[in-house]
Amino acid sequence: MMISPNTLVILLGSTALGTCCGLVGALMLLKRRALLADAIAHSTLPGICIAFLLGGSRSLAVLGVGALLSALLSATLVSWLPRITRIRKDAATACVLGILFGAGIALVGIIQRSGLGGSAAGLDGLLLGRTAGMLRSEALLFGISAMMMSLIIISLRKELLVSCFDPRFGLSAKIPARSIDFLQTSLLAATIVIALPAVGVVLTAALVVIPAAAGRFWTDRFDVLLAISALIGAASGLIGTLLSSLHSNLPAGPVIVLSATTLFIISLLLAPGRGWISRHMQQRSRLQDRQVRQFLDGILSSELEESSLVVLKRQPVTTAAIDRRNLVVSSRNGWIETDSQRIQLTPEGRRRAVRARKALQIWREWLTSEASIDRDLIDLDEQDIEKILPPDLIDTLQRSIDHRGTS
C-alpha cells in the first residue's frame, strides 16, 4: 500500500496526539480524576460555538481559543463547586458536564438553523472528529505538543508523583501542590483542545482515559505506567487513523477510540500478573496446590495412625480431595506410589506433607499469639509461612507447640 505524504503527515499527527492523551490520562487516572477529562471535553462545545458565532470563522485557531476558555471554565467550576457549596465532587463534575454540553448542543442547533453554514464540515467534524482534513501545520502542532508534554512530565516527575500519590504530604513538604495541580489540569485542558479536531468532543475523554486504564494492567511502576500509557495512546492514534483513512466514510474519532478499546481488552485479558487470564490461572493453581496438599496430608494422617499403607476404598481423606486429579498430579510428581489397591507416600512426598503440616501448625500458633494480623495474610502455604516468620520465631513457636503436646 502506498502512503501519500499527506496521509503520512496525518498519521504522525495522530500518533503524537495519542501520546499526549496517554501521558495526561495516566496522571489523571492516578489522581482519580478520570471523570474530569470527560467533563472538560464535553464542555468545550459551547466555547467552540460561541467562538464561531463571534469570530464568524471556522479556522481551528479561533475555535480552539473558544474551546480552551470553556475547558478552563469547566475545570474551575468542578474544583470550586464542592468548596463553596455542599455539592460533592462527583455531582459537581456531572453537573458541569451536563449543563455545558447541553448548552453546546443548543448552540449547535441555533447555528445550524441560522444558516451561517455551521453544519458544513467545521462544526460537525468537531463532534465526532475528522482526521482527513488535518493540515500539515496542525500535525506539526500535535507533534510539538506531545514533545513538550513529555518534557514537562519527565522534568517534574517527582512533583507529579507526590501530587498524585499523597497531595497532603506534598503540601506539608513545601512542594507547591496547588501549582502542580493547576499545571496538571492545564495540561489536560490543552490536550483535549488539540485532540478535538481529530477525535471530537464526544470521544476525546475516552482517548485520554482508556490508554492509562489499559497500561495499569501491565505494570506496578509509575514511570513505566506513563510510558506504556503513552505508547498505547500513540498506537491507538496511528491504527485508528490508518483504518479510517482506508474507509473514508468512517469518522476518525470512533475508530481511534475503538483501536484503544481493542488494546484495552487485550491488556485486560493477556497482561501477565494483573490480567484476567493470568489471575485466573494463578487462582486455579493455588486451589490445586491446596487440594494436593490436603490429599497428601490425608495420606500422612492415615500412615501415622495405622499401617504405612492405605487401601483406596477406606481412604480417610474427604471425598473432595481425593478426586483422580490429585492422585494423578501426586504420582506424576513422584510424591506417592500406587499399586492396584494401595497408596503410599514416597520419601519425597512424606517430606513435603510433613513440612506443610508443620508450617501450618506454626502459623496457627503465631496467629493465636499475635491477635492483629492482616486478613490478606492469613491464608498462606508453607513456603510463604517459612518466608514470613523469622527462623528464631519459628523455633520458639515450635517449642511452645511441642511443650503443649507433651504436657
Binding site: L171, R216, D220
Partner: protein, 262 residues
C-alpha cells in the same frame, strides 16, 4: 523547660463557619514527645493540619521554632493517616521513602545516589530494608505505616507530626514505631502525634494535649494526665466514657502497663 517548638495562641479553625477548633492556647517544648488526645471529632487531625500550615486558622496564630507558620521555611516531617492514600498506586517502597527527600532537592532535580542511600538508612530504621522493591499495595497495614514513618525520617526535620501512627498496626510495627520515637527523642527532635490509646500514654509520652474542640489541658504528662482532666475531655460521650474510666482506674491504682508487657 526547653524553648518552645510550637506555640499556639488563640487558635480557632472553622469549617464552613462551624468551629472545629476553638480558642486553643498551648506550648509544646522542643525535644518533647507529645500526644494529642481526645474523642473522635475533637479536632486532633485539624490541629495537625494547622501546625503544618495546610489549613488557615479563622483567628489566632501559630509559631514553629519562633517563626509564623505560613512564613516559616522550617521543614516539618509528616506521617498522614494510613487510609488517606490509595495503596494500589504504582510505586514501590523506596519510591515512597524517597519522597521525604524531595523538598530539599528543589525543582527539576531527581533523587540521586546520596538520597537513595539516605532513604535506605531510614528504611532500615523501621526494619523494612528488605522490602524496598515491593509495590506498596503488597504490604501489610503495619508495613505500610512503617513506610510512612521511614518517609518522615527521610525528611530529617526537627519537628515531626504523626496522625495516629499506632492505629490498627501489628505488634511488630508497634514495637518498630516505639523504637523510632525513642530514637528521635534521643536526638532531640520534637514529635507530636495524635494518639487514641489512653492506656499507653503515661509511660511513653512526656507531654500531653487534651483536646475536645477546645483545649482541656496541656502540659507535662505527670501533671496533666489526671482522671479529672480525662473525664473533662471525654465527659458526656457515653461510648468513650468506659475507656476513660478504665484509664482513670489504672491511674488510681497505680497499675499501668509499659506497652507490650501486660
Amino acid at each position: 523547660m526547653n524553648s518552645p517548638a510550637i506555640e499556639i495562641h488563640d487558635l480557632t479553625v472553622s469549617y464552613r463557619e462551624k468551629p472545629v477548633l476553638w480558642d486553643i492556647d498551648a506550648t509544646i517544648p522542643e525535644g518533647s514527645l507529645c500526644a494529642i488526645v481526645g474523642p473522635n471529632g475533637a479536632g486532633k487531625s485539624t490541629l495537625l493540619s494547622a501546625i503544618l500550615g495546610t489549613i488557615h486558622p479563622a483567628s489566632g496564630w501559630l509559631k514553629i521554632f519562633d517563626q509564623e507558620v505560613g512564613k516559616s521555611q522550617e521543614l516539618i516531617g509528616f506521617v498522614p493517616q494510613r487510609e488517606s492514600v490509595d495503596w494500589d498506586f504504582p510505586v514501590d517502597v523506596l519510591d515512597v521513602v524517597l519522597m521525604g527527600t524531595y523538598s530539599k532537592l528543589g525543582w527539576f532535580r531527581r533523587p540521586g545516589k546520596a538520597q537513595r542511600d539516605w532513604a535506605m538508612e531510614c528504611l532500615e530504621q523501621v526494619g523494612m530494608a528488605d522490602l524496598k522493591k515491593r509495590q506498596v499495595g503488597e504490604l501489610s497495614g503495619g508495613q505500610q505505616q512503617r513506610v510512612f514513618i521511614a518517609r518522615s525520617l527521610a525528611q530529617d526535620a526537627r519537628l515531626i507530626l504523626m496522625d495516629e501512627p499506632f492505629a490498627g498496626v501489628d505488634a511488630a510495627t508497634e514495637e518498630a514505631i516505639r523504637l523510632v520515637l525513642l530514637d528521635l527523642k534521643k536526638k532531640g527532635r520534637t514529635v507530636v502525634l495524635v494518639h487514641h490509646d489512653l492506656q499507653t500514654i503515661e509511660n511513653f509520652f512526656d507531654h500531653v494535649l487534651l483536646l475536645n474542640l477546645r483545649l482541656v489541658a496541656a502540659g507535662p504528662t505527670a501533671e496533666i494526665f489526671t482522671g479529672e482532666n480525662l473525664l473533662r475531655t471525654y465527659g458526656g460521650r457515653l461510648t468513650l466514657l468506659d475507656e476513660a474510666a478504665e484509664a482513670v482506674r489504672r491511674i488510681r491504682t497505680g497499675r499501668s502497663r509499659t506497652g507490650r508487657d501486660q
